[in-house]
């Protein structure tokens, strides 16, 4: 418990650090949202200046950071100049969509990765194993960009999947189940792509964790007692091999989020990725800060979750 408390404090400090770092970085940036207006001859320099004063862009960094922290406490997360509303509600929808996508992809990756990893660990040096090895190391070198472009091409050419987006226009007014089905149809392709991106690393880790465990004598004893092979692998060996995999889950949140940014942009999934790019191009600083902060929050929570799981799974860690 003490350990978890320390982890929580550490996480909170880290988030404060990230927030200040990204805030300071973007305030120090040259140019702001109203720069575009200055180019318009019909808007006088005085109007632009007045707008800057109104939105508080002329104040000093600590003052603005304090304002911003206060708005974070309200759940507003700052004010989006492009959307002309608080950032919180805008970003909440996007964050939900990103979570749906990455959650589905993580689930898919682990459901595929664990059996495949166990299989490569147990099935000697056959040709099928070798093919899987070559496939995974090739997948590792395929740029994410190319993978998602190919998936989009597949969707556009075959028409089996909707080509991007999250809803069909007709599904907006539909009842819950048809709508869920519609979202699922849109979800499949990006989630599958993300799962493929994370599979090679996952399979390798499952494999090496299992190989270590499979050599231990208690498994031979279990086999000797006539316990079926599948049961030995999944109920006896896998829990022992779980620790490094749970830690891997914590780390993989970061790669998943990065890959998801590309997937969202190419397959136009309305998540945090497209919002971040839009905001970067429009110099909508508070949206950028909020998105970056949120990604850090996801990451920190992923790691915390992994720690909690470790405590739940491994009695040795509980004892410490």
């Amino acid at each position: 418990m003490k350990y978890l408390g320390r982890r929580l404090i550490h996480a909170a400090l880290l988030l404060i650090g990230v927030s200040f770092f990204s805030f300071a970085l973007l305030q120090w940036a040259p140019g702001d949202f109203f720069d575009e207006l200055q180019l318009n001859p019909r808007i006088s320099a005085r109007t632009v200046e007045a707008l800057r004063v109104e939105y508080g862009l002329n104040q000093s960094l600590p003052v603005r950071y304090e304002h911003w922290l206060r708005s974070v406490a309200h759940g507003d997360l700052g004010f989006s100049l492009a959307y002309n509303s608080a950032v919180g509600p805008i970003i909440a929808v996007r964050a939900r969509n990103t979570l749906v996508l990455t959650g589905a992809a993580t689930l898919m990756a682990w459901l595929l990765g664990i059996p495949l990893g166990i299989w490569t660990a147990t099935s000697g040096r056959g040709w099928a194993n070798r093919i899987l090895g070559v496939t995974t190391s090739t997948l590792l070198t395929i740029p994410d960009l190319l993978l998602f472009l190919c998936l989009l091409l597949l969707a556009v050419r075959t028409g089996w999947f909707p080509a991007g987006g999250m809803f069909s226009p007709s599904a907006e007014a539909a009842a819950f189940w048809p709508r869920a089905k519609d979202v699922f149809a849109h979800l499949f392709l990006p989630a599958f792509g993300l799962a493929v991106v994370s599979l090679p690393v996952l399979i390798r880790h499952v494999r090496s964790a299992m190989v270590d465990v499979l050599a231990s004598p208690f498994l031979r004893a279990a086999r000797g007692h006539g316990i079926p092979r599948m049961r030995v692998l999944f109920r006896y060996a896998l829990p022992v091999a779980a620790n490094p995999l749970i830690s891997l889950f914590g780390f993989s949140v970061a790669t998943m989020l990065s890959a998801s940014l590309i997937a969202e942009v190419i397959l136009s999934w309305p998540g945090l990725g497209p919002l971040l790019i839009e905001a970067t191009l429009a110099r909508d600083v508070y949206v950028v800060v909020a998105t970056v902060l949120l990604s850090a929050v996801f990451l920190v929570f992923g790691n915390l979750l992994a720690d909690l799981l470790l405590v739940a799974v491994d009695p040795r860690i509980r004892m410490e």
């Binding site: 650090g17 070198t141 190319l146 472009l149 990065s258 190419i266």
Partner: protein
């Protein structure tokens, strides 16, 4: 023996690719901005040795490309008009490494024929030439950024590991800030802080700085680990006893131990950083027209009709795979070798 052989092939491939990109002007038949407005989205040109009459030619030739009257926007090959391929021909002037001016190209076909090994884009620019010229920027950005990241990593990791105490805490906590963010999000946050529209000359500098400066935390961590164990060695203690200064100790006794980590990190980071440039430019935050980079070659794929109609627009991305594979296998080989040395 076989492994050695494979490693040789990989190194050879890398050398060839880098040389082709360094001497892009020579290997590319056209300039990167040379337009053929009447030939947009022309498919890759086929090289032939046998003509319609079944006669063999020593010199390869290409057929002329004509508009397909039945199928607007598409092309058909005009089998009656042949253009022979020539080597070491005079063409668009270029400069190698910005210094040596020349007009000689490795190959080209006689006018008014055109040879497009990888097809053309919407302005009829030769994708093969643009791929080679684009590599100059992408590869240079990747190499420099990797060098920058690892240099910062050496300095920070070296100092943190060597001095320990509060210096170590401060530097490593700072590094955690960089590791606490998903890498692409961090890339965008830093990119957002820099001017959107930059001149051609600044863009390389900007990419290198952005990509290189956010990636230092991981190499710094690894190098710190090596330094921590290296500084306890008896040789270091002895040197200190002889009155060696900290800077001398770090330079001569401690940091050389991190040599292997530095080498693997650089080879692993280069492909990752090339991809960073590709991603940024693809999303419109990197290199602008008419300068090509591997990212801007792919940017047109964001349009559905390009994506679904012109398969050769995927070629630049496909060519990155063997390149990355080569880098990764060099990293693997280095790691393997270090392991065998350590044992």
């Amino acid at each position: 023996m076989q492994r050695k052989y494979k490693f040789g092939v990989v190194i050879f491939l890398l050398v060839v690719v880098h040389a082709a990109i360094l001497f892009a002007g020579f290997f590319a038949p056209y300039g990167y901005a040379t337009q053929n407005r009447e030939l947009p989205f022309a498919p890759p040109t086929e090289l032939h040795f046998v003509d319609q009459a079944g006669k063999w030619h020593v010199r390869p030739f290409v057929y002329a490309l004509a508009d397909d009257s039945d199928n607007p926007g598409a092309y058909r090959t005009d089998l009656n008009t042949r253009y022979a391929m020539h080597f070491f021909v005079q063409g668009t002037p270029y400069k190698i490494a910005g210094i040596f001016a020349s007009r000689v190209h490795l190959f080209g076909v006689s006018d008014p024929g055109r040879v497009f090994l990888m097809g053309t884009d919407e302005f009829g620019r030769d994708q093969f030439s643009r791929f080679l010229f684009g590599g100059q920027l992408s590869l240079l950005a990747g190499l420099l950024a990797a060098a920058l990241s690892v240099s910062v990593g050496i300095v920070v990791g070296g100092i943190a590991g060597f001095y320990g105490g509060w210096v170590d805490d401060l530097l490593m906590r700072g590094g955690e800030l960089f590791l606490a963010l998903p890498w692409l999000y961090l890339l965008f946050a830093v990119r957002a802080a820099l001017p959107l529209h930059v001149s051609q000359a600044q863009v390389l500098l900007l990419l290198v700085a952005v990509v290189g400066l956010i990636g230092w935390a991981r190499p710094a961590r690894l190098i710190r680990g090596v330094v921590l164990s290296a500084k306890e060695r008896n040789s270091v203690l002895a040197a200190r006893g002889f009155g060696a200064s900290d800077a001398y100790l770090l330079r001569r006794h401690v940091l050389p131990e991190a040599y292997g980590v530095v080498l693997t990190q650089i080879t692993l980071l280069i492909p990752q950083y090339i991809l960073a440039e590709v991603t940024l430019t693809f999303l419109g935050l990197g290199v602008g027209e008419p300068m090509p980079s591997w990212g801007s070659l792919l940017a047109s794929l964001q349009q559905y009709y390009v994506l679904s109609t012109y398969w050769w627009m995927f070629l630049p991305a496909l060519l990155l795979i063997p390149l990355f594979l080569a880098y990764y296998s060099v990293a693997d080989a280095v790691q393997e070798r270090l392991k065998s040395v350590a044992l």
